[in-house]
Structures are given as structure tokens and as C-alpha cells.
Amino acid sequence: MSEIFRAQVDIDLRVNGEQVAARVIAGQHVIDFLREELGLTGAHASCEHGVCGACTIRVNGQAVRGCLMLAAQLDGAEVWTVEGLSDNNTIRDLQDAFVARNALQCGFCTPGMLVSAEELLAQGGIPERGKIREHMSGNYCRCTGYEAIVDAIETVARQRAGKANS
């Protein structure tokens, strides 16, 4: 292999607000990096081909599939996982609403659900249920049947809109 292409790549990034420097294998995806190198096991690697959404995390302000991004691409990136968004209270109301409405059973899909839902909620306003369903259509849940998840997201949208207006 020529010198140009690296089997291991050095990256510098911020994860949940903390500076991280690492050397990663060229083909490693972001979820394996977060889980195995940084011990952040909130985001799950499940289908690993973009279908289920269990790996959804926030990179540079956008919700993305962690399994479809390489760790090598993270140099200079700002990454937030469900752990960081929990610790800084960004999604506390959403988590409370998920618990109150039983929007999780086994909880495997929940970290991805929360990050995806937060992206929609951050746009503001009270989205129609159809819009919530459409936005969440890339996140699979094998337990709940989705109704409670949509309820929880809708509840939080109303609460936040109420706060913004008061």
C-alpha cells in the first residue's frame, strides 16, 4: 500500500464536550469507536447498514447514523451521544416523557430514538403526529409499537412550546 493511504488514522475531536485524541483503524465505524475505545455504550450497533437507527448520534449538530460514518472521518468533529445529552440535561424532559408514557420496554432502541426525536424537537413548534412519525420512521422499535413513542415526543413538543410562550 502506498504511503498516502493510512491503515490507522489520527483524529482529534470533541465528544460530549470533552477533547479526545485517538488513533483509529481505517475501516472502523463511529459506533465501534465510541463503544470500544471510549466506553460510551449508549449508542448501539445493530444492523450496521443504516436500517434500524439504534446507532443514531449527533455529529456537528446533525443526527446521523453512527454505523455509516467512519471514525477516521471524525477529525475536528463535535460529537454528542445519549450520555452527554443526558448529563447536560438537553433531553431530560424527553427521557421523563418516555418513562411516563412507557415509550420503552427493552430499551435497546431508546438512545437512537432520543437523539432522533431531539433533532425534530430542536426545530421548535409542535409537529403534527404525521410529521413525528415520518421523522422517526428510520428508527425501529421491536417492542413498543411506536404509539407511546409518538405520544411522548408530542407531549414534550407541547411542553417546550408552552414554556417558550410563557
Binding site: 502506498s2 498516502i4 493511504f5 481505517a26 475501516g27 455509516l68 467512519l70 428510520g138
Partner: protein, 277 residues
């Protein structure tokens, strides 16, 4: 299963990327949004690729206009295309397509250049650029080429791109003031690849009809277009069903795809004329 890449390199600019592809001895692989490529790597459908990451080349991203045409950089994401005001005004077909492509998180990273270079016959953008009569711009070691969309798609995942070439942008004629564009498709669930889909453009020069998921590449339905130009919708539906040769697979039979292609054409015409089907 885990991906096995041969190596990774980040390109600073287009010239750098082409140089690196050239030095990869045939193993070079452009990495754009990664929404098809990384999935394929994770499934080990491809191994040992020397990845040339072009995703940071800002000159390849963004949407601009001149008097007659719209230019969309290869790295422009599906999400950007879905919300861009120029696209809404001058190429609404592309905006409608975005709503049909995958899910929000995938649209945040997937790029139009990647979707065209990938050339999945079930993807929306390839069929759209055919219907819009767009031009695909590529650059390689031997310089630049401008390829009509009509000549770009060869087979499943095969295009006119040479191994050392990078798709840089597409240009397309701006929609005329009274031009109409519509996309119709049948999917089992939101965000799934369509069982069949159809783009219809009506402009002064005539109708353009293209289809996705009915063959090994997106197709232009020339006979149906001629019948529509003559004002004969029934004739167009019959011609359309005769001129496509859809596959049978686990998703749908050839006969069903042929049937819904005709239904989609009627829906598209009804959408243009404001009638209900």
C-alpha cells in the same frame, strides 16, 4: 461482520483527490456521504478499498444559479436539496425526491453526487436527473467531461465514470415559468426503496417521463413521452407498459411493476392537471 478498508486518506481539494485515486492502483474508492459505501463495507460487499474521503472539499458543495441553469455540487446533501429555495423554484422534482429518500439521519449525510455515482436503479435522483435532462460533470486525470444524464447510467451500480474520475456537479435547465414536475412512487413503508417510481416533467419542448425500479438502470420512456406530447394518455400508458422490462424479485413481480408503472403515469398526469384519480 466488520468492514475492512485497505486504507484511508482525506482529500484537501479536487486535484488532490484525483491524484490520490490515480495512485491507488485500481483499489481507490471515493468516500462521500458514506450512506451506501460504508453500509456495503460493513456487510463486506466490498473489502480492501483505499478510501479517498472527499467529504471535506467545500468547493464541491452548494447550489448556484445562472441565467438558464442550476448547478448543484456533488457533495450537496439530500437534506440541503430538500430545503433549498433555488431547488424549490427551479427543480421542485428534486425536492419531492428528497422526501422519498431514506430517513432524516441518512438524508443529513447522503449526497447527490454519491447517489448518482452509486447508480442504484431503485434510487430517486438518477431517475430525476434523466427526467430533468441534466448534465453530469466529472473531472479526472485527463481533464473535465460533461455527460448528458441520458448517457451516464449503464447498468446496476455502473456508470460512465472512469476509475480516476470524480463527479463534481450536475447542471440542469431551470424550470420554465409554467413547467410542471412530479414524482410518483409506490413503497411499502416510508423511506423504503420504491417498488416502482415515475418522474414526469412537462415543459415547452414536450413531456419527459423516467422510471426507477423497473430495470437495471433508470429509464426514459420515449414512447410514452411521444404519446403524451400527442395528448393521448391511454396510448401513453399502453406504450409505457410495453417499453419497460421490469425484474421480478422478492419485493414485487415484473407484472405488478408493469401494472403500477401505468398507474403512476396516470397519477402523475392527474397531478399536473389537478384531477383526482
Amino acid at each position: 461482520m466488520k468492514a475492512s478498508a485497505g486504507g484511508y486518506a482525506r482529500a484537501n481539494d479536487l486535484g488532490h483527490a484525483i491524484e490520490m485515486l490515480g495512485s491507488a492502483d485500481g483499489m481507490g474508492r471515493v468516500l462521500a456521504g458514506g450512506q451506501s459505501l460504508v453500509a456495503a463495507m460493513n456487510m463486506r460487499l466490498t473489502t480492501g478499498d483505499l478510501l479517498v474521503d472527499i467529504s471535506r472539499i467545500s468547493a464541491l458543495s452548494g447550489i448556484t444559479e445562472d441565467a438558464a441553469s442550476l448547478r448543484i455540487g456533488a457533495l450537496t446533501s439530500h437534506a440541503e436539496i430538500g430545503t433549498d429555495p433555488l431547488v424549490r423554484t427551479y427543480a421542485p422534482l428534486l425536492r419531492d425526491a428528497v422526501a422519498c429518500i431514506a430517513h432524516a439521519a441518512i438524508r443529513n449525510r447522503g449526497t447527490i453526487g454519491g447517489a448518482l455515482a452509486h447508480a442504484d436503479p431503485a434510487a430517486e435522483f438518477p431517475a430525476c436527473v434523466l427526467a430533468l435532462d441534466a448534465t453530469i460533470h466529472v473531472t479526472g486525470r485527463d481533464g473535465k467531461r460533461a455527460i448528458p444524464a441520458d448517457d451516464f447510467f449503464h447498468e446496476v451500480f455502473e456508470t460512465a465514470l472512469q476509475p480516476d474520475e470524480i463527479l463534481t456537479a450536475i447542471t440542469l435547465p431551470k424550470a420554465e415559468r409554467d413547467e410542471r414536475q412530479t414524482l410518483q412512487e409506490v413503497t411499502r413503508r416510508s423511506g423504503d426503496y420504491a417498488l416502482a417510481g415515475l418522474c414526469l416533467v412537462r415543459r415547452r419542448a414536450g413531456h419527459r417521463v423516467s422510471l426507477l425500479s423497473v430495470g437495471s438502470r433508470p429509464v426514459l420512456a420515449r414512447h410514452a413521452m411521444a404519446h403524451l406530447d400527442a395528448g393521448d394518455i391511454d396510448g401513453a400508458v399502453a406504450a409505457l407498459r410495453a417499453e419497460i422490462d421490469p425484474p421480478s424479485d422478492t419485493q414485487a413481480s415484473a407484472g405488478y411493476r408493469r401494472h403500477i408503472a401505468g398507474v403512476l403515469l396516470r397519477r402523475a398526469m392527474a397531478d399536473l392537471t389537478g384531477e383526482k384519480t
